[in-house]
Symmetry: C2
Subunit: 351 residues, 2 copies
DNA sequence: AGGTACTGTGGGAGCGCTCCCACAAGTGAT
DNA sequence: ATCACTTGTGGGAGCGCTCCCACAGTACCT
C-alpha cells in the first residue's frame, strides 16, 4: 500500500510503536518509560529499555512537540548585533553559566541575535510560532518592546537586569547598589574624601542604582554629597574621558573617581593622564565589571566584579521553574522572582 | 467534550482549518498558499491571505515538521569549547556570513558547542533525533568522528576546511596553497632570499597546503628549498617562539619568516626580539589570518587574509542546496562541492 | 462529438507522539 | 465475602500539519 510514498516505511527510524512491539508491551508503557514515569514495574521498564537500546530508538521531537505542546527548547535572546556580543565577555560568561545548567537537562538552547530591525521582526515571528518554551533576555534597554511581546504571548521569560524597580518579569541582577557602596566605602577607607562618580547611561536601571549606592555610602559615612562630583557618562570610553575632564574643571581637588564601568574608567584614566594626575597617588580610580580591561589597564584597575556566570545559571533555573509551573499545575515552591546576587570588590593598584 | 483537557480549544492559536473556514476554502488550499505553491488562483490566494492576516495565523512548526519530516533548522557545530569560540574572530566572522545568508530564509540557525565529551554525546543524540535538516561544521580536526556520524545519519553537511585532499563532505575552504604562495612571493619581491617557514599543526590539511605553497613558490622562483628553513609549529604563540629559536640556531643568516598563523608570528616576533633581530630590517615577518593580532602587533604584521565571512555565506548556500536536493528530487544545477575561495595579502610594516 | 490534457480545489490518511480513560489484578479494611 | 483503593497496563483519540488522490471545470485537439 505505502500510500504515503517512500517516507521511511521500514528501515527508517524506529517508532514508539515498534519499540512497544519488540518489548511486548503497549505504546503507553513505552512512553511512560521514556518519560521517566514512576508508574512502571521494574521488569517492564527493563524490557522496554532493552528494546530501546536494541533498536536504537530516539524519540521524534516533532511528534512529541505536537502532541505535548512544548518544544524542549529555550532561547537566549540578545538584542544587540553579533559584534557586541562577541566583544563583551559579559555574554560569553553568561552563556557559560546557562550552558552549565543546561547540561543536566533535555532542553536545547538557541542563541538568537536581534540587533537589526529585520532580525527583530524575525524574532517576533519566531516567538509567535511558539518555537521555544521560554526566553532568557539579556541586556534589555528601558524602552524595549520585547518583554511586553513575551508577556502578551504568555511565554515564560527571565530578564537579566530589571528595567525598573517595578519590573514585572522575573529578573536576575547583581547588586548594583551594594557594588557601588563597596567601591565608595573602599575609597573612603583609603582616606579619600573628595570622591567623584561618573555614571552609566541613566536609562539603564542598574546605572541608577549605582548612583544611589554612591550617594548613600557617602551619606552613611557622614559626608555630604556634592552634586558637582557627579557627572553623567554613557558606559563608553569617550564618555568617560569627557566626564572626567568636566569633573576636573569643576572640582580640581578631587582625589578619587568611581566609574560606572571599566570602559568608562579607561576613558577617565586617559583624561587624568592628560592632566598630569597620577593614579593612584593623586587620584584613585575604581571601575565596575572586573572585565579584561581592568586587569590590563596601567595601573591595573580596582573594580567591582559581578558574578555573571552565576547569574546565567540562576536565570536558567528560574526559567525552567516557570516553564514547569505552566505545565500540569504542580505548583512547586517558587523562589521569589527578583533575584539579586552579591558583587565583590577586586582591589588592584589603581586605588 | 474537550476530552483533551483545556488545551487551547478555542481562543488558542488559530489552525489551518480555521483559516480555511474563514476564507471559505479547503485545508489543502490554505496549505498551498502558505507554502507558496503556484497552483492557486489569484482570487483564492487573496482570500486566504486576508484570512491569515485577520486571524493572525502562524503555522505550527511542530505539526509541519512531523508531517513533512523536516525541521527548517540547521546547526552550526563548533567542536571547541565556548571560550575559544569567543576568543577567535574567525568564528564571529563566519557566523556573520551565515547569518546574512539566513536572513533570506525561513531557516533557523542553532549554535552548538561540542567541546567536552559530554557535549559531544549530547550532540550525537541531537543529530540522531534529526532535529536539524543540515549541519555546518567548522574547525574539524583530521581524526574527528563527527563527519562520519553525519554521513551515516545521512544528514546534509558542509565542512569548512576539508580534512584531506580526499574529503568526501562538501567543503568550503580558502586557498591555503595560494595564500602561502602570495606570502612567499611577496617576501621574494622584497629582496629576501633566505625565507623560513614555521608551519601549523600538520594534522590540519590547510597547514600542509601552506607548506606546499611555500615550497613551490620558492621552487618556481628558482630557489632551492632548504629543509633546515622549515620548522614545525602548532598554531600557538609558544610554539612559534620555540620554532623561531630553533630556526635561528640552525640558520642564523635567515632574512625572512613566513608563519602559518598570526599567533605563531607573534611568538616568532618575541623570539626574534630576544635575539636582537629587528623587524623588518633584519628579518621580515609575515603571518596568516589577518586577525586583530596582526594589526596590533609592533610592528604591524603583514598577513594573509581569508574571506571568512564569504566562506560562511558559501557554506550556507551549499548546505541549503544539499538540503533542497534531498527533498522532491528537483535536481538543480549543483555547484561543484569543493569550493576554494581566494586569499589576499595585506601588507604592513613587518615586511 | 468525443477524447486528452491541464488547472484549481477539497479532503482523507497519516506523521509519531502524549494524554487519559478503562480495566485487570493485587491489597487490605470491613 | 464485599467494598474501596492502589498499581500497572493497553490503546483510542487527537495534536495541526503535508501529501496526494479524486474530481469538477475549462481549453484545445482530433
Amino acid at each position: 500500500m505505502a500510500s504515503h510514498g517512500a517516507r521511511g516505511r521500514s528501515g527508517g527510524r524506529p517508532t514508539l510503536e515498534e519499540v512497544a512491539a519488540r518489548a511486548g508491551v503497549g505504546r503507553g508503557t513505552v512512553s511512560r518509560v521514556i518519560n521517566g514515569s514512576p508508574r512502571v514495574s521494574d521488569a517492564t521498564r527493563a524490557a522496554v529499555e532493552a528494546a530501546v537500546a536494541e533498536l536504537g530508538y530516539v524519540p521524534n521531537t516533532a511528534a512529541r512537540a505536537l502532541a505535548a505542546n512544548r518544544t524542549d527548547a529555550i532561547a537566549l535572546v540578545v538584542p544587540e548585533p553579533e559584534t557586541r556580543f562577541f566583544a563583551e565577555p559579559y555574554f560569553s560568561d553568561m552563556l557559560k553559566g546557562v550552558g552549565a545548567g543546561l547540561a543536566d537537562t533535555e532542553m536545547q538552547l538557541l542563541l538568537i541575535f536581534a540587533g537589526s530591525d529585520r532580525e527583530r521582526r524575525r524574532l517576533a515571528q519566531y516567538l509567535a510560532a511558539h518555537r521555544v518554551d521560554g526566553v532568557l533576555l539579556v541586556s534589555v534597554h528601558a524602552d524595549d518592546p520585547l518583554p511586553d511581546l513575551l508577556a502578551q504571548l504568555e511565554i515564560p521569560a527571565v530578564i537579566s537586569g530589571p528595567r525598573s524597580a517595578a519590573e514585572t518579569l522575573t529578573s536576575v541582577d547583581s547588586d548594583n547598589y551594594g557594588g557601588a557602596r563597596s567601591a565608595v566605602e573602599h575609597l573612603l577607607s583609603r582616606g579619600r574624601t573628595r570622591i567623584a562618580h561618573i555614571t552609566g547611561r541613566l536609562d539603564v536601571y542598574g546605572a541608577q542604582r549605582r548612583v544611589d549606592g554612591y550617594r548613600e555610602a557617602l551619606r552613611d559615612a557622614g559626608h555630604e554629597v556634592d552634586e558637582r562630583l557627579i557627572e553623567p557618562g554613557d558606559f563608553t570610553e569617550e564618555g568617560g574621558a569627557r566626564a572626567m575632564r568636566n569633573l576636573l574643571a569643576r572640582r580640581p581637588d578631587l582625589d578619587a573617581v568611581f566609574a560606572a564601568s571599566d570602559v568608562t574608567a579607561a576613558g577617565a584614566r586617559q583624561a587624568l593622564r592628560e592632566e598630569g594626575r597620577r593614579i593612584p597617588d593623586d587620584v584613585a580610580l575604581v571601575g565596575y565589571d572586573d572585565s579584561a580591561i581592568a586587569r590590563h589597564l596601567d595601573p591595573p584597575l580596582t573594580s567591582v566584579r559581578q558574578p555573571i556566570e552565576d547569574m546565567g545559571r540562576r536565570m536558567l533555573d528560574l526559567l525552567l521553574a516557570e516553564i514547569a509551573d505552566r505545565r500540569p499545575a504542580v505548583s512547586r515552591g517558587l523562589e521569589r522572582s527578583q533575584v539579586v546576587l552579591p558583587t565583590e570588590l577586586v582591589t588592584r593598584a589603581s586605588s
